[in-house]
C-alpha cells in the first residue's frame, strides 16, 4: 500500500500541518468567547440598520470601556461589552434599541466571571477524563496483541494520532479566530471532545484489522505488508464513514442555525483530520515503531 511505502512523505506533510497549527495557537492565541471570559453580548435587529459609527457613538457615551460592534446578517448588529450590571444593561439596551424605531433585541447574553471559571475548570477536567478513558480503552481493546508490536505501543500511537487530531483543528480555529472573529466557547470544547472520540474510533478500526490479519498471516509475511493490506481493506470504510458524517455536518453548516455554525465547522475540520491521521499517520507509525524495535 502506497501509504506505508511513502510514509516519510506523509510524515513530512503531517509535520508541516502540525507545525503550522502549533504556530497558530502559540502566535495568535485562542480567541476565547464570553462564556469563558465573562462579558455581555447583545444582538439587535433593525428595520433600517443605522451606521455602525452611530451605534458606536451611542455606546461610547455610556463609558463602559472596551466594546465591539459587528454587523450580523443584513440588518443586525452584534454588540459585545464587558460584564454589565443591571443598570448598565438597561442603558446599553436603551442606547441601541430604545430610540430607534423597528429595532428589536434578538438575543442578550451576559456571563459573570464565576461562570467562566466554572466552565474553564469543567472543560479542563472533561478533556483530561476523555483522554485517560480513551487510553485505558485502547489498552484494553488491544490487550491480546503482543507481536511484533506490543499493545501498549498501539495505545501510544493512537494517542499520538489523537494529539494530532486536537492540535490541527485548534490551530485552524486560532487562525480563524484571528482572521474571522471565531470564538472558543463551550461548543468548541464539545466539538473537540467528540472529535477525540470519533478519531480514536477510526484509528481502532484500522488497528483492529491489522490485529485480525496478524492472526491469519503466514509467519514470514513482513509486518509492513500486513499493515499496508489492512489499510487498503479499511480504506473505503474510513473514507465513506467520514464522508457521510462530513456530508451531514455540511448540511448543518449550510442550513443549520447560527448557534451551531462554528460547531459544525470545527467538527468538519476535526473529522477530516481524524480520518487523515488514522490512515496516513497511525498505521505508518506502527510500521516505523516495529522497525525501530528490530533495530533497523
Amino acid at each position: 500500500m502506497f501509504v506505508v511505502k511513502y510514509r516519510k512523505i506523509f510524515y513530512s506533510i503531517t509535520a508541516l500541518i502540525t507545525a503550522f497549527s502549533i504556530f497558530a495557537v502559540s502566535y495568535w492565541g485562542l480567541n476565547f468567547g464570553i462564556d469563558f471570559k465573562g462579558g455581555a453580548i447583545a444582538e439587535v435587529e433593525y428595520q433600517n440598520r443605522p451606521s455602525k459609527e452611530s451605534v458606536e457613538t451611542s455606546i461610547k457615551a455610556l463609558n463602559l470601556g472596551e466594546f465591539s460592534v459587528r454587523p450580523s446578517g443584513d440588518n443586525a448588529f452584534i454588540i459585545k461589552t464587558r460584564e454589565l450590571s443591571n443598570v448598565e444593561r438597561q442603558n446599553v439596551i436603551g442606547a441601541v434599541v430604545g430610540t430607534t424605531t423597528g429595532a428589536t433585541l434578538k438575543q442578550f447574553d451576559s456571563v459573570g466571571p464565576v461562570l467562566g471559571q466554572e466552565l474553564a475548570q469543567k472543560s479542563a477536567s472533561a478533556i483530561i477524563f476523555v483522554i485517560i478513558a480513551i487510553v485505558l480503552f485502547i489498552t484494553f481493546a488491544f490487550r491480546r496483541v503482543s507481536e511484533p508490536v506490543s499493545s501498549f505501543k498501539y495505545g501510544l500511537i493512537a494517542v499520538v494520532a489523537l494529539i494530532h487530531d486536537v492540535i490541527v483543528p485548534t490551530g485552524i480555529y486560532a487562525f480563524l479566530g484571528r482572521n474571522g472573529g471565531f470564538e472558543v466557547d463551550a461548543l468548541f470544547v464539545t466539538a473537540i471532545l467528540v472529535i477525540l472520540g470519533f478519531s480514536v474510533h477510526d484509528t481502532i478500526v484500522v488497528f483492529d484489522r491489522t490485529r485480525e490479519n496478524l492472526k491469519h498471516a503466514p509467519a514470514k509475511k513482513p509486518f509492513f505488508e500486513i499493515v499496508g493490506e489492512s489499510i487498503s481493506q479499511t480504506f473505503a470504510r474510513s473514507i465513506n464513514t467520514s464522508l457521510v458524517v462530513v456530508l451531514s455536518l455540511i448540511a448543518l453548516f449550510v442550513f443549520g442555525p447560527e448557534a451551531t455554525h462554528n460547531f459544525a465547522l470545527v467538527m468538519i475540520i476535526g473529522i477530516i483530520t481524524g480520518t487523515y491521521s488514522s490512515i496516513f499517520l497511525g498505521s505508518p507509525l506502527l510500521v516505523t515503531v516495529e522497525r525501530m524495535g528490530k533495530g533497523k
Partner: protein, 463 residues
C-alpha cells in the same frame, strides 16, 4: 415486521404532533368549544416535542447564592430558595418555568451554589429579572417603649432621604428577632365581613414560636413590617398569636394587597442571590433556529441517503430504510423521555445520523469481502455482520465514553442537550445497525450472487 413497527412509531410521532396542534388551535378559536377540546385531546397530545429556550424564545438566568453568612444546612437553604423563586414565577402564570439549583466547584476547591431559572416566553431580560425581583430584606420591628428623641438635624433637613427615614425609624422601632427568613408564605385573603383584602402571613414552626412570644410580650404595641428598611405595614398587636399565622389588615386596594403579598414573598428569600449570568433569546430568533435545524436535518438525511444508494446500491437502500427507522426511533424517544431539544441537541441528532451509518458501512464492506471470497450471498451477509460487530462495538464505546463525560461535566444546557442526544443516538444506532439492517438484508432473500444481484450488491463505480 420491523417495517410495520417503524411505520407505527412514525405514525405516533406524526399524530401526536397533529393532535397537539389541534388542541392549541381549538383553545384559541372560541371559548365555547371547551367540550370539543376535550374530545380532540387524545393521549398522544401528551407527548409534544419539548423545545429548549434557544428554540422557543425565553430567558435563562443564573444566580449565585451567597451561602457563607447563613446556616450550615446549605442544601436546605438552597432548596427553600428554589421553592420561593418557583412560587414567585408561578404567581405570574408563566408556562413551565424551570428552577433548579446546582453546586459547582471552581478553581481552588471553592464551591459555588447556583440557582438556574428558565422562563419560556419571557424574552426581555429586564422583565425576567423583575419577575424574580431583587432580594429585599423583610424585618419585623417592635415599637420602642420610650421613643428616642429624633435627631433635630434629621427633622430639619428639607428632603426626606433614605438615611433620614432610616434614622427616624431607628429612633422609634427596635429590631425584633423575627425576619423574613421565618416567613413561609404570604397570601391575599378577604375579610369575611367587609370583603376587604388583607394579607395572611404564615410562619414556619420556629418563626411561629418567636412570633407567639413576640406578640405575647407586646400586646397593644405596634409590630412593624419593614421591607428594605421601609415600613410597609404597622399593625397593632391585639392579642398573642400562637398558631404562627397573622393577618395584616389595613385599607388596601386589591392591587396594593397583591403587591404587598408579593413583596412579602420576595422578602422571604432565605439566601441573598446575585445575578451572574443572563441569556435571553427572542421568539423569532428561536423559531428561525428551529426551522434552520429542521431544514439542516432534512438535507443532511437526503444527502446521506443519496450517497448510500449511489455507492452501495441495494444494501444502500437497506441502510437508508434502517436510517429512517433510526431517525423515527430517535424522535419517539425525544417525545417519550422527554428530551428537551436545543439547537445543539438537534446538531447532535444530525451528527448522529451521519454516524449511525458507520455501522452499516462497516457491515457492507465486510460483507463485500466475504462475497469476494466466493461464499453464498446469505452466508456472506451473516458473516459480514458477525465480523463487523466487534468493530462496531469497540468504536461506539469510545463515543459513549465521550458522551457520558460530556453530559456529566457540561455547564450549559446547550452542551448537556448535545451530549444526551449524542449518547442516545449512539446506543440506538448500534441497535438499528445490527437488527434492522441485518433482518432487512436477509429478508430480501436473494439466493444467488449473479447478474442483477451481483450488480445490486456491488458497490462503487465498478461492476
Amino acid at each position: 415486521m420491523l417495517l410495520v413497527l417503524g411505520t407505527l412509531i412514525g405514525w405516533f410521532i406524526y399524530s401526536s404532533e397533529i393532535s397537539s396542534k389541534t388542541v392549541v388551535s381549538d383553545i384559541t378559536s372560541t371559548a365555547t368549544s371547551t367540550v370539543k377540546v376535550k374530545q380532540n385531546k387524545s393521549w398522544l397530545a401528551n407527548y409534544p416535542f419539548k423545545l429548549g429556550l434557544d428554540l422557543n424564545g425565553g430567558s435563562h438566568l443564573v444566580y449565585q447564592a451567597e451561602i457563607s453568612s447563613t446556616t450550615t444546612d446549605v442544601d436546605g437553604a438552597m432548596q427553600s430558595l428554589r421553592d420561593v423563586i418557583e412560587r414567585r414565577i408561578n404567581a405570574f402564570g408563566v408556562s413551565e418555568p424551570i428552577v433548579q439549583t446546582e453546586t459547582a466547584k471552581i478553581a481552588g476547591g471553592e464551591s459555588i451554589h447556583k440557582l438556574i431559572v428558565e422562563i419560556p416566553g419571557v424574552t426581555d431580560p429586564k422583565e425576567a429579572i423583575a419577575l424574580i425581583g431583587q432580594t429585599p430584606t423583610l424585618e419585623f420591628r417592635i415599637e420602642k417603649k420610650v421613643p428616642e428623641k429624633i435627631d433635630e438635624k434629621l427633622l430639619s433637613s428639607t428632603t426626606l432621604s433614605t438615611s433620614t427615614l432610616a434614622g427616624m425609624i431607628d429612633a422609634r422601632y427596635e429590631k425584633a428577632e423575627l425576619t423574613g427568613r421565618y416567613l413561609s408564605k404570604a397570601t391575599i385573603q378577604f375579610d369575611q365581613k367587609t370583603g376587604k383584602p388583607q394579607i395572611g402571613l404564615e410562619f414556619n414552626k420556629e418563626g411561629g414560636e418567636i412570633f407567639a412570644k413576640l406578640t405575647g410580650e407586646n400586646v397593644g404595641k405596634i409590630i412593624g413590617i419593614f421591607l428594605d428598611g421601609t415600613p410597609i405595614s404597622l399593625p397593632v398587636v391585639n392579642d398573642a398569636i400562637k398558631d404562627g399565622k397573622a393577618v395584616i389588615t389595613g385599607t388596601f386596594g386589591i392591587e396594593e394587597a397583591r403587591s404587598l403579598a408579593r413583596n412579602l414573598n420576595y422578602g422571604a428569600l432565605p439566601v441573598k442571590v446575585d445575578l451572574v449570568g443572563t441569556q435571553s433569546i427572542g421568539a423569532s430568533l428561536g423559531t428561525n433556529a428551529l426551522n434552520a435545524a429542521v431544514l439542516a436535518g432534512i438535507w443532511g438525511f437526503i444527502i446521506v441517503a443519496l450517497f448510500l444508494i449511489l455507492w452501495y446500491r441495494l444494501p444502500g437502500v437497506v441502510a437508508v430504510v434502517s436510517l429512517a427507522i433510526y431517525t423515527v426511533i430517535m424522535l419517539a424517544i425525544f417525545k417519550l423521555l422527554p428530551v428537551v431539544l436545543t439547537s445543539a441537541g438537534l446538531a447532535g441528532l444530525i451528527l448522529s445520523i451521519g454516524m449511525a451509518v458507520d455501522g452499516n458501512i462497516l457491515i457492507f464492506e465486510r460483507m463485500r469481502e466475504e462475497l469476494a471470497k466466493g461464499v453464498s450471498l446469505n452466508e456472506g451477509i451473516r458473516e459480514g455482520f458477525a465480523r463487523a460487530w466487534a468493530s462496531i462495538r469497540d468504536s461506539n464505546l469510545s463515543s459513549i465514553i465521550t458522551a457520558v463525560i460530556l453530559y456529566t461535566l457540561a455547564t450549559s444546557a446547550l452542551v448537556k442537550g448535545f451530549a444526551l442526544v449524542f449518547l442516545i443516538g449512539v446506543l440506538v444506532s448500534m441497535f438499528t445497525a445490527i437488527t434492522v439492517s441485518r433482518t432487512l438484508l436477509l429478508a430480501i432473500g436473494v439466493k444467488s450472487y449473479k447478474g442483477i444481484a451481483k450488480f445490486l450488491f456491488g458497490n462503487g463505480f465498478k461492476k
